[in-house]
């Protein structure tokens, strides 16, 4: 086969591959992200400039009891990883727990910006931290199962990979950590302790 033929066949193969690729791409269903409940949309990790993560649990307690634990239970704060907490402060300032402190290159302070009784507490970051963060705890009646507590955090890194390490990994860790935080809070509210398999827990 001559060089010209090689080139001709090569070109034809390339064009066929491109056409096939286009065909497959165009046959992809158009996803309506708004049709997916909460944060469950497929192939959607960013909302505008923000990466949104969250978690939910149901606690057998009222919203007031859950908020009281978050605000005042000193046993909760040291075990939190990513859920900011008020530590009894009265000025709406929230402190970053260990995971959040490790993740941001500068202290990330947040302040409560909205409170709706029995329904919602929302906060956002302030100051010169390297990331812009919004978050909220939302309460919803879940029938005889208790109160559904959902935490949603939206993060906009100011300087990609400088303030936040690899963004996707950060989001995954954040989501897992928030779920753990909610589960610890649930344990503390429902049972008064956080489960451990250690043989000699500090509680004894």
């Amino acid at each position: 086969m001559t060089l010209a033929n090689w080139a001709r066949y090569g070109l034809a193969a390339t064009l066929a591959t491109a056409a096939g690729g286009m065909l497959i791409y165009r046959r992809q269903p158009r996803i309506n992200h708004d049709a997916a409940p909460a944060r469950s949309a497929r192939h959607r990790r960013r909302f505008g400039d923000y990466r949104v993560t969250g978690a939910a649990v149901t606690v057998r307690a009222t919203p007031q009891q859950i908020l009281a634990c978050w605000r005042n239970n000193a046993a909760l704060w040291p075990v939190l990883e990513f859920l900011p907490f008020p530590e009894g402060h009265q000025d709406d300032l929230l402190l970053p727990p260990s995971g959040l402190r490790d993740m941001a290159s500068r202290p990330l302070l947040t302040r409560i910006v909205t409170e709706r009784e029995d329904e919602l507490v929302a906060w956002r970051s302030e100051g010169e931290g390297h990331a812009d963060m919004h978050g909220r705890l939302r309460f919803r009646d879940n029938g005889d199962k208790g109160t559904a507590v959902e935490v949603i955090v939206a993060v906009r890194p100011h300087h990609f990979a400088s303030a936040w390490k690899t963004e996707a990994m950060m989001a995954e860790a954040l989501e897992l950590g928030l779920l753990r935080d909610l589960r610890r809070m649930k344990m503390l509210i429902e049972t008064g302790e956080i489960a451990t398999a250690r043989l000699r827990p500090d509680a004894v």
Binding site: T58, R60, D144, K145, G146, L176, R180, R183, R184, K186, M187, E190, T191, G192, I194, A195, T196, A197, L199, R200, P201, A203, V204
Partner: protein, 327 residues
């Protein structure tokens, strides 16, 4: 089981009390515990271990003694000392005048057999087929008769265990010598058992095409469970019957006769045992001498010979039915 030697500040137990401790750990406060589904407890598995089970099963499990990190990584109960979490709700305080041998199995296998029979939804006079005559299978047979089963057909390949099943009143069928589906059809006049109970679980033995395929897949890491007994039970069950699965499964199984489930309109119920839900009722039966679970004990060993006990339990199933260890 054992005696309380120390208590935490919130415990309602007292030093010196004699207790039986269920293998399922539960908080007594969450939604599932409020409905007595103790093995579904939300709070007893440490948060760090919940993610493993969540990946495997879709939801985290309750904590359990000696049951891997899927269930919290709690050390097992075959020890001189055991810490009991949530000791205000988990342990059962038992009377002093009943011997250990009659109470010990309240911690696990007796309630497991009881729940297996309950899940079979037995009506008086029903015919029940039980796959597996190990300790759980034998207690399932005992429980099925207590729950008014008319006939129980016991299926196993170990003659010593089939003999014990026969002593309980069951009709033994040895799968080494019998075509099980054919036998069950003939024994039930062409109808099939009203309910079937798989007390075998993920480690089914035998020489059949699906078992060999399961073994090959297990060996090369493509599958986890050998579900031959469950497949056979579903095929054998009568139309509109019930399938109860106390046998433990941990992964995924293919060749599952879903078509038979659907086309025959079967109901399937399973789960880790909600031990504490049944202990009061079973203790009452023991106290009134209606049942004596100690018939199961074949050997007694000191705790430091546990490895020997486990080895013999695996290698000599004909004689080693249940080993009780004394610390």
């Amino acid at each position: 089981m054992g005696r309380i030697v120390a208590v935490g500040k919130e415990s309602t137990l007292e030093v010196g009390q004699r207790v039986v401790v269920p293998f399922t750990i539960f908080c007594g406060q969450c939604f599932h515990c409020s409905e007595q589904r103790y093995s579904n407890c939300d709070n007893s598995c440490p948060v760090e271990d919940q993610e493993v089970a969540e990946k495997a099963f879709g939801h985290p499990m309750a904590g359990m003694f000696g049951y891997s990190h899927l269930t919290g990584g709690y050390a097992g109960g075959q020890a001189e000392y055991v810490r009991i979490p949530y000791s205000d709700v988990v342990p059962l305080v038992v009377p002093e005048d009943i011997p250990d041998d009659r109470l010990l199995f309240l911690s696990d296998i007796l309630p497991t057999g009881w729940m297996a029979a309950l899940n079979a939804d037995i009506a008086p006079g029903d015919t029940i087929a039980v796959w597996g005559c190990g300790p759980v299978g034998l207690f399932t047979i005992l429980s099925a008769f207590q729950q008014k089963a008319g006939r129980v057909i016991a299926i196993d390949g170990v003659k010593g265990r089939l003999a014990m099943a026969e002593q309980l009143g069951a009709e033994p069928v040895n799968y080494h010598e019998t075509d099980i589906l054919d036998a069950l059809i003939q024994m039930t006049g062409g109808v099939g058992p009203d309910a079937v109970i798989d007390a075998v679980g993920k480690e089914a033995h035998g020489f059949s095409v699906d078992t060999i395929a399961d073994r090959v897949k297990q060996t090369v890491g493509l599958g986890q469970d050998r579900a031959h007994a469950l497949r056979q039970a579903i095929m054998a069950c009568r139309k509109g019957g019930r399938v109860s699965v106390p046998g433990v499964y941990g992964g995924k199984a293919d060749l599952f006769p879903l078509g038979a489930m659907m086309q025959k309109g079967l109901q399937l119920r399973t789960g880790q045992t909600h031990v504490r839900r049944f202990t009061g009722e079973l203790l009452d039966l023991i106290e009134r001498d209606v049942i004596d679970p100690s018939f199961l004990i074949s050997h007694r060993l000191p705790l430091d010979e546990a490895a020997t006990g486990y080895r013999n339990f695996r290698d000599h199933q004909d004689e080693w039915i249940k080993v009780v260890m004394h610390p």
